[in-house]
């Protein structure tokens, strides 16, 4: 596919020198875009998944009540929760943990006890049966008038919408980049045909089919796209390596879950391959169309 002689002196065309660079930039941008979309999708969806199996129940504090009274109220709520079908476990989030999770926002050493923070109960759900959320809320409200059951539904929907828009945006940009790559190949192929018009006529007169001529342009386009693809992919590899090294040094508490899986790498590697295929198909289609115009 890569080897094979060219009867046309395509490798000395001006477009030949330019095309690999254009393609490497396209591949770089497309892969980076895709990598970004994959990382964000991965991070947000693992976040979303973490939220989907649990509820958080908030019990507002009552002014002046003793710790014994607080514990009683929380125990009662936990009992109700544990009786509810579909709930696998319910336990209070220790106030110290709430404090730690708020630390980045409030600063270390803040005394949580002084703040009127709601008491939190972390509820884990079983896969089946599904919890009847309305009924649960009703029951809890009977016991604790101001209790709130947060199923993180709104939040999860927002995350899902965000993921979807990110993916749509990435797909749109990648399509745009592909369009530019196609135009670049069409342009290079057309200019090649114009430059070598006389040679093409001779090839035709000797009995070369359009297919024979198209194969040469196609092979040439593949070589150039391959060069560009390799350069672009290497640049992306280096960029991502640097990025993830930076991520690893950041505080994991503050960072969403940014990871790049083997599967992600595989998806990414489709880009340079796709560029090679697109370049070949485009060159072929362009040559066949242009040749029909010559004679």
């Amino acid at each position: 596919m890569f080897s094979g002689r060219l009867d046309l002196p395509l490798s000395s065309d001006p477009a030949t020198r330019l095309l690999p660079w254009i393609i490497s930039v396209m591949v770089f941008l497309a892969m980076l875009m895709l990598a970004g979309a994959l990382v964000l999708t991965g991070a947000t969806s693992s976040w979303e998944k973490g939220l989907s199996g649990r509820y958080t129940v908030q019990i507002p504090p009552i002014e002046g009540e003793s710790t014994v009274e607080v514990d009683q109220r929380i125990d009662r709520a936990i009992k109700i929760l544990e009786r509810t079908p579909g709930v696998s476990a319910a336990k209070q989030v220790p106030p110290a943990e709430v404090a730690i999770s708020l630390e980045p926002w409030l600063g270390a050493g803040t005394s949580v006890v002084d703040l009127p923070l709601p008491h939190l109960i972390d509820v884990s759900l079983a896969d089946k049966p599904a919890v009847n959320l309305g009924q649960l809320r009703e029951q809890l409200r009977l016991a604790e008038k101001d209790s709130v059951v947060d199923d993180h539904g709104a939040w999860r929907r927002q995350i899902k919408d965000l993921i979807f828009s990110l993916q749509a945006l990435a797909a749109g940009i990648i399509l745009l980049i592909a369009g530019c790559a196609v135009s670049a190949v069409v342009f290079a192929t057309r200019s090649g045909i114009a430059v070598h018009h006389d040679v093409l006529i001779v090839l035709h007169l000797i009995g070369a089919t359009d297919n024979y001529i198209a194969r040469q342009f196609q092979r040439h386009a593949l070589r150039l796209a391959f060069k560009g693809g390799v350069v672009g992919a290497l640049l992306v590899g280096a960029t991502l390596a640097i990025f993830f090294k930076g991520v690893a040094e950041l505080d994991p508490m503050l960072m969403p879950d940014l990871r790049f899986t083997l599967w992600n790498w595989l998806i990414l590697s489709v880009v340079p391959v796709a560029v090679c295929v697109i370049a070949m198909r485009t060159a072929r289609a362009t040559v066949l169309r242009e040749l029909r115009r010559i004679q």
Binding site: D7, V199, I201, V202, L203, H204, L205, I206, G207, Q295
Partner: protein
């Protein structure tokens, strides 16, 4: 093999450079096309190798009406025709070897067979030492021999040569004509356009003579 009937031809909107050309060449024929410069010899050959279309009249090649040829039928037909262009039209970026190999490659012949045939033929025309030379580094006569080798390498059924001996001395010209005669003996139809009256009289083949786009000496085959 070739049949012209009242063929007229013009370039674009220009005047007719060929008028009312009628003749018939049987397979295996050998013809010279003579006439002064500008008489239309090359134009007539262009019609025969399908580089130009007649503006009127009928042309048949290999018993096929040329005007009815579809685009995808052209390559196969053209492979049956070997052409020595007046201006050679060698591909400058290819070596002599690759230029001559071209018709075989286009026909999909395996490389080892190509190498053997091409080397043999180039040696025969006296260019054994120039296999790798680019056309620009060759003399006019050497280029002409490369062009001839390219035209005959695929053993076409029809050989059209436009001034194939214009750049070589008479000794080589005669040698090249012998090559054409050999091909003719195995069945190739040969048409040679030339100024060289000496060459024409040296070989006793019929002549199509053009004057100002008109066939003046009716060929012996005309009207068959």
């Amino acid at each position: 093999m070739i049949r012209f009937e009242n063929v007229g031809m013009r370039y674009g909107a220009g005047p007719e450079v060929l008028s009312d050309i009628s003749f018939n060449l049987e397979p295996g024929a050998f013809r010279f096309v003579t006439g002064p410069s500008g008489a239309g010899k090359s134009s007539m050959l262009k019609l025969m190798y399908l580089a130009e279309k007649p503006s009127r009249g009928l042309i048949q090649l290999f018993d096929r009406d040329v005007s009815g040829l579809r685009r995808n039928e052209m390559p196969a037909l053209r492979r049956q025709i070997g052409v020595v262009f007046q201006e050679f039209r060698l591909l400058d970026h290819l070596s002599a070897f690759d230029n001559v190999a071209l018709p075989l490659r286009v026909a999909g012949m395996p490389e080892d067979v190509i190498a053997k045939h091409v080397t043999e033929l180039l040696s025969w025309v006296g260019l054994a030492g120039q296999l790798d030379a680019r056309p620009v580094t060759l003399s006019g006569g050497q280029q002409q021999r490369v062009a001839i080798a390219r035209a005959v390498i695929a053993r076409p059924q029809l050989l059209l040569a436009d001034e194939p001996t214009g750049n070589v001395d008479d000794a080589i010209a005669v040698r090249l004509l012998y090559l054409f005669e050999e091909l003719n003996k195995v069945g190739t139809t040969i048409v040679i356009a030339t100024h060289n009256e000496g060459l024409v009289s040296h070989f006793d083949y019929p002549v199509l003579h053009l004057e100002d786009g008109i066939l003046t000496t009716p060929s012996r085959d005309a009207g068959i």
